[in-house]
C-alpha cells in the first residue's frame, strides 16, 4: 500500500485509468504516435495536458519553487523519456508521477530567481490587475484560499485542486490519479469541508477587506 493510499480512510479501489481516446477528446493513436517519437503528437499531448500537470505540481511543490521552472523540467522529461512507456493507458499516470517527482525534488534543490523578466511574465499570466476594492479583495481571498488549500493533506489537496482546472471531471481526475471515481468524489468533498473549516478557524475577509477572527 502506498503512502497515499494509507492516508485514506474511505473505500479506495484503485483502478487503471482509461486509455486516452475519444472519451477525453484525445484522437485515437495520438498517444501511440507520441510514444513513438512523433513531434507533432508530443506537442499536442503536452498542450492538452499541461494545465492539469501544473495543478498537480502546484499541489505538491514547495512554496518557494518556481512553477514555470518545474513545468519546463517536466516538458523536458516528457520529450526524453516518453518512449520508455510501454502502455498508452499509463501515459497520464506517468506524467503525473513525473510532475510529482519533479515538484518534490524541487524541495531538495535551490531555486534560482531569474529577475524582473520572470516576474513580468508571471504578472502577464495573471492578467490585468483589478483596480477596484472588490477585485483586490477577491484576489486577496483567492491567494489566501490557495495558501490554505496547500495545507490540506496531500491526497485531498491534489483532488481539490485538479477539480478547479477547467474540464476536469471526476472521471478525468480518476484517470490521472488511478483512483476510483467514487474515491475522487469523496476526497473532493472531504477536502472542501476541511478547507472551509480551516478558513473559518483562521478568519475570513469581510466585504470591506477586513479580517474577522473566529475563535473556536
Amino acid at each position: 500500500m502506498t503512502r497515499r493510499e494509507a492516508m485514506d480512510t474511505d473505500a479506495t479501489t484503485a483502478t487503471p485509468g482509461p486509455a486516452f481516446g475519444p472519451a477525453d477528446g484525445t484522437p485515437p493513436g495520438l498517444v501511440r504516435a507520441a510514444m513513438a517519437g512523433d513531434a507533432d503528437a508530443l506537442r499536442t499531448l503536452w498542450q492538452d495536458n499541461r494545465r492539469w500537470i501544473a495543478a498537480v505540481m502546484l499541489a505538491a511543490k514547495p512554496r518557494e519553487a518556481d512553477l514555470e521552472d518545474l513545468l519546463q523540467d517536466v516538458a523536458l522529461t516528457m520529450v526524453r523519456q516518453v518512449h520508455t512507456i510501454d502502455d498508452e493507458r499509463a501515459l497520464r499516470g506517468w506524467l503525473r508521477q513525473v510532475a510529482l517527482n519533479t515538484a518534490r525534488a524541487a524541495g531538495r534543490t535551490t531555486t534560482r530567481r531569474k529577475g524582473l523578466d520572470r516576474e513580468r511574465r508571471h504578472e502577464l499570466a495573471r492578467g490585468p490587475a483589478g483596480s477596484g476594492d472588490a477585485q483586490v479583495a477577491q484576489r486577496d481571498e483567492a491567494d489566501r484560499l490557495m495558501q490554505l488549500a496547500s495545507e490540506l493533506p496531500e491526497a485531498y489537496r491534489e483532488c481539490v485542486m485538479l477539480r478547479c482546472v477547467r474540464g476536469m471531471s471526476y472521471r478525468a481526475i480518476a484517470s490521472i490519479t488511478g483512483l476510483a471515481e467514487t474515491t475522487v468524489e469523496t476526497r473532493i468533498a472531504r477536502g472542501r469541508r476541511m478547507l472551509r473549516e480551516i478558513a473559518q478557524q483562521q478568519g475570513k475577509p469581510q466585504h470591506n477587506g477586513q479580517k474577522q477572527q473566529v475563535h473556536a
Binding site: V79, R80, E141, V160, R193
Partner: protein, 227 residues
C-alpha cells in the same frame, strides 16, 4: 482538523458529498431530494452550500491564474532528435565496451554528428576489428598505419590540425610476468570543422545533461564541451 465526533462523521460525509455534487453540477434528482430533506431539518445547509460554492469559485479562479503560466511552456521537441541516438549509443556501450561510458558515447556522438573525414574508415581502432582491413581503396596494415594515414589526409584537407602529444591514462594493470603494465589511454586528435549548428553540453536543474544551442557568431571558451 475534523471537529465532528465519530457518530456524526457518516452524516457529515453524506452531506459533504451532496454539497460537492451540487457545486460540481453532478447532482441527480435523488441527490437533490436528499439535500432538501437535510435542509428541512437544518435550513442553515443552504447558506453552507452558498458559502462552499463561493469558496470553490474563488479558489478555482486563483488556481487558474496560477497555472496559466503553463500555456507559455512549449515542449522542447528539438531535444527529441538528440535523445534517440544517445540512447542507442548507450545500449551499444553497455553491450560492448567495459569502460565506454561518457567517453565512448562522446566519441561516437561526434561520429554520428559530423562524420569522419572522407576516405578514412573506422577500422583498426575499434574493439573486435581485425587489423589489415581494406578500406577506401588502400591497405591499412595496422591501427597505427591507419591513424597515420588519417592524420596525413586530414592535414592535407585541413580537417586535422594535429595530434596532442599528451596521452591520458585511463587504466593501468600490471602484466602477469611483472615486467610492465597494460595501459589503456586516451589519445587526442585536434580537428577543425566549420559548424553551422553548434551545441554545447549543459546541465538542467535536475542534473540531466542537455544540449544548448550556441548563439551564431559567439565563440565558445577553451575546454567547452560541444558537438
Amino acid at each position: 482538523m475534523n471537529t465532528h465526533d465519530n457518530d456524526n462523521t457518516r452524516d457529515h460525509l453524506d452531506r459533504d458529498t451532496l454539497l460537492t455534487r451540487i457545486i460540481d453540477a453532478e447532482a441527480s434528482a435523488e441527490d437533490w431530494a436528499a439535500f432538501r430533506a437535510f435542509a428541512a431539518d437544518e435550513p442553515e445547509v443552504w447558506s453552507e452550500l452558498a458559502e462552499m460554492q463561493r469558496q470553490h469559485d474563488v479558489l478555482a479562479g486563483g488556481l487558474r491564474e496560477a497555472i496559466a503560466i503553463a500555456d507559455s511552456i512549449e515542449l522542447p521537441v528539438h531535444e527529441h532528435e538528440s535523445v534517440r541516438p544517445v540512447a542507442r549509443i548507450g545500449a551499444v556501450m553497455q553491450n560492448g565496451w567495459s569502460w565506454g561510458g561518457w567517453l565512448a558515447a562522446a566519441a561516437l556522438l561526434l561520429a554520428f554528428t559530423v562524420g569522419l573525414p572522407r576516405g578514412v574508415g573506422v577500422v583498426g581502432g575499434m574493439p573486435g576489428t581485425a587489423p589489415g582491413t581494406q578500406a577506401a581503396g588502400f591497405s591499412l596494415g595496422t591501427p597505427e598505419e591507419a591513424l597515420d594515414r588519417y592524420i596525413d589526409l586530414g592535414k592535407q584537407s585541413g580537417a586535422v590540425v594535429g595530434q596532442s602529444p599528451d596521452f591520458i591514462v585511463l587504466e593501468s594493470t600490471p602484466l602477469a610476468d611483472g615486467g610492465g603494465n597494460e595501459v589503456v589511454y586516451l589519445r587526442q586528435q585536434i580537428e577543425r570543422r566549420e559548424v553551422r549548428d553548434l551545441y554545447r553540453l549543459g546541465t538542467d536543474e535536475l542534473g540531466n545533461t542537455v544540449r544548448v544551442p550556441v548563439e551564431a557568431g559567439k565563440a565558445l571558451g577553451v575546454g567547452a564541451k560541444a558537438f
